[in-house]
């Protein structure tokens, strides 16, 4: 297998890692998706039931019991659940990747020590498996949205674009955490708390407008904010995302991925010494 090093000065190197080993990434991701429910009776259907059941619970708890309203205009039980779900899926994608990344290398000792394995692709296959779950959840969301409103906004077609702006950031986070997780074993605990915190400080459970002005900045610094809002725009409100905002986000996201990838590649030599 080709073990040629990447040219780290090349900002496209993170994506070359993906395309150079595409079959492998797809295989690993597929294995991960199938493996998760292996041996269970309903098998792969769980990846469909899971988001569906969660959506029912959100609707009941937040809609019926709390009588939560997104804002003055959006008041229905189901409406709140749909908006919540659109943002929550983004957090789930991020949290799943971030949390798994911290132990990605430690749990695959064999790939570090026994074979020449393109470790950098593990981040991509983790994302691949999380993307599958995002896809299923989004289908459930659109189905629900159709049943409630009898229409689906055409802008959902833009959702892949929004996700693509997000992915470099997620991948970068995966490389950074995967590398640091090898050396700092406490990281796993910290990341668990941080991903939960990011959920509550993002416009996912409530709209940005509800946040007092002096704390707005905090919310704007949350890397999930832009993407969560863009998702709500295209999947729920039926409007185009804030393109300028999204473009800046995409650029920063790519820069981050590049740096994190370079860090991962520089530190990987040390993995074998400590795993």
């Amino acid at each position: 297998m080709s073990t040629t090093a990447y040219r780290l000065v090349d900002p496209l190197s993170p994506y070359r890692a993906l395309f150079r080993h595409f079959t492998l990434v797809v295989q690993m991701a597929r294995r991960d998706v199938i493996g998760r429910y292996r041996g269970s009776f309903a098998g792969l259907f769980w990846s469909f039931f899971n988001p569906l059941l969660m959506l029912v619970i959100y609707t009941f708890v937040f809609g019926v019991i709390f009588k939560s309203r997104w804002n003055a205009q959006v008041t229905g039980h189901f409406q709140y659940a749909i908006v919540l779900f659109a943002g929550l899926n983004i957090n789930t994608l991020f949290a799943e990747c971030a949390n798994r990344s911290t132990t990605l290398i430690i749990e695959n000792t064999n790939f570090v020590k026994r074979v020449v394995f393109p470790l950098e692709t593990l981040a991509w296959s983790t994302i691949g498996s999380a993307l599958f779950h995002l896809l299923v959840s989004t289908l459930v969301l659109l189905l629900m949205s159709f049943l409630v409103n009898w229409r689906i906004p055409w802008t959902f077609l833009l959702f892949p674009v929004v996700v693509c702006c997000f992915l470099p950031f997620v991948a970068g986070m995966a490389w950074l955490l995967a590398s640091l997780g090898v050396f700092l074993r406490d990281l796993k605990q910290v990341v668990g708390i941080v991903t939960t915190a990011l959920l509550f400080f993002a416009p996912i459970l409530y709209p940005k407008e509800m946040v007092p002005a002096q704390y707005r900045l905090l919310m704007d610094l949350n890397p999930l904010t832009v993407i969560a809002e863009a998702s709500q725009d295209v999947l729920v409100w039926g409007q185009q995302p804030q393109w300028a905002e999204l473009a800046v986000y995409a650029a920063v996201s790519c820069l981050f991925a590049w740096l994190a990838f370079a860090w991962f590649e520089r530190t990987r030599k040390g993995f074998a010494d400590v795993v």
Binding site: M1, S2, T3, T23, L24, Q27, M28, R31, G35, N108, N110, F111, V112, K113, R114, V115, V116, F117, L180, V182, F183, L184, R185, R266, T267, K269, G270, A272, D273, V274
Partner: protein, 475 residues
């Protein structure tokens, strides 16, 4: 010389393991010294070092089979891991041409959570085989591994035997140019080990093989050349048989010295003198016209197995070792009828005698011998321990002793054979070699009826009978 002539070139290879007290120290080592340098503070190291390999160089030609021997911890695995690319050398160069596949220790690169099938695909992809090609070869891999329905179970449920079966089946089907096999085969059962050996033999015809094993016989058997590693460096690199025997002698000496006895190993200086060279030397002085007599047990068939014996020549002894309390003066092999002839027959009763002098006072000496074939594989041998176990006897300095072994010489395939002779003290399991002479005697089987196996046993009778009702037909 073109680079393609070599499969593996290793130059000045060294590996320093950095041992970190805590994982975070590794991170500090990667970042802090750089900062300390820029702010001109003294640079700290955050690890303890251990040199597993120091300045190792060798080349392996395309198609060559090289065995690697050495104690545990001598650097064998480190070397192989660097050749396979899973470890980064601290200094030095390795170049490997073509596709290299490895079976390193147990659990070569499998993901324990994946099923056997998934691991086949994963490993195949890692070796650069396309998915389509893997689908074509999948059945062949499964047939080779022969682990039944376990192929669809997670690999973590496998026994170590199944693990190695699957791993071997994969590397046998990925068109490797170079194979690296590390002791792993010892885990399989006999049938599988034989299957692997058959595969390795056919592989030798087309590829390069690096073979690590503690089984000296297997190394001699399979490899033309061997490298002996010790303490991270190469001790000897040469013909497999010489290197392995030298290694074993050294091992014995080390074993005994740990018990407080000194066993000297003489030989390195003469390591180039091969057994062939010596037999030619002996032939001049003692080759006799072949003495031919019918094989016992197959006398009427007229099939002969004549064996030509070359006389013991103490000056030509190439390798000997021992603690030195006794010295072997003479070793001879002759027919039991007393004819001191240089030729004996397979199937005939023969006497092997070993004469020795006690250099110091010795107690309960054990005399022993091994008959080995051209490859150095031990065919048979015996010693005097069990017979004399209950008789304590001591011999003063200067006593002359003679041990005689009378046995029926098996029928031998055509080829040359050697006899190792030894005097030891102690017991069967715990003994000190006082004097061991490698290849003390050389003999050649020049004619043989033997076709299969290592040695033939003289048949007492061979007949075919008809068991059902006999209707004799008279023509």
């Amino acid at each position: 010389m073109s680079s393609s002539e070599f499969s593996i070139r290793v130059e000045g290879l060294s590996k320093r393991y950095e041992i970190y007290g805590q994982p975070v120290d590794r991170l500090k080592q990667m970042t802090l010294p750089r900062i300390q340098r820029t702010v001109r503070r003294s640079v700290r190291t955050y690890f303890k070092e251990f040199w597993a390999l120091r300045d190792v160089s060798f080349d392996v030609r395309r198609g060559e089979t090289v065995g690697i021997v050495g104690r545990n911890g001598s650097g064998k695995s480190t070397l192989l891991q660097m050749i396979c690319g899973t470890l980064h050398p601290t200094s030095g160069q390795i170049s490997v041409s073509g596709r290299i596949a490895a079976l390193l220790e147990l659990g070569a690169g499998f993901n324990p959570e994946f099923t056997g099938r998934e691991n086949v695909y994963l490993s195949g992809l890692l070796y650069g085989i396309s998915e389509g090609e893997l689908q074509k070869r999948y059945q062949a891999i499964v047939d080779f591994a022969d682990i039944g329905e376990f192929i669809d179970q997670p690999v973590k449920t496998y026994s170590s035997g199944m693990y190695v079966r699957l791993a071997f089946a994969i590397i046998a089907h990925i068109d490797a140019d170079t194979l690296v096999i590390d002791e792993a085969l010892s885990v399989g059962d006999v049938r599988f080990t034989q299957k692997c050996m058959r595969f390795l033999r056919s592989f030798q015809a087309r590829g390069t093989l690096l073979f690590v094993s503690h089984d000296a016989g297997a190394v001699i058997n399979l490899c033309q050349r061997a490298i002996w590693l010790d303490g991270g460096g190469i001790v000897t690199d040469g013909p497999a048989r010489d290197v392995v025997e030298q290694y074993l002698a050294e091992q014995h000496a080390a074993d005994r010295s740990s018990l407080g006895e000194r066993v000297a190993v003489r030989a390195a200086a003469q390591s180039q003198s091969s057994s062939e060279g010596r037999s030619v030397l002996a032939e001049k002085t003692s080759a006799q016209p072949e003495f031919e007599a019918p094989c016992l047990g197959s006398a009427s068939s007229g099939i002969r197995n004549s064996i030509e014996v070359f006389e013991f020549n103490p000056d030509a002894v190439s390798r000997e070792f021992g603690a030195g309390a006794a010295h072997i003066d003479r070793v001879s092999l002759q027919s039991a009828s007393g004819n001191s002839l240089a030729s004996i027959m397979g199937g005939e009763l023969v006497d092997l005698t070993i004469e020795a002098t006690a250099v110091a006072r010795i107690e309960s000496p054990i005399f022993g011998f091994y008959v080995k074939d051209r490859l150095g594989q031990q065919l048979f041998g015996d010693n005097s321990y069990l017979i004399y176990r209950d008789k304590k006897n001591a011999f003063d300095k200067g006593s002359k002793l003679r041990a005689r072994f009378r046995f029926r010489m098996p029928i031998l395939a055509i080829g040359s054979y050697t006899v190792d002779a030894a005097v030891a003290t102690g017991t069967q399991d715990d003994h000190t070699q006082q004097h061991w002479i490698r290849d003390a005697l050389v003999f050649k089987a020049t004619e043989s009826s033997m076709r299969h196996g290592l040695v033939g046993v003289p048949m007492q009778e061979i007949e075919i009978e008809r068991l059902d009702a006999v209707h004799e037909i008279h023509g």
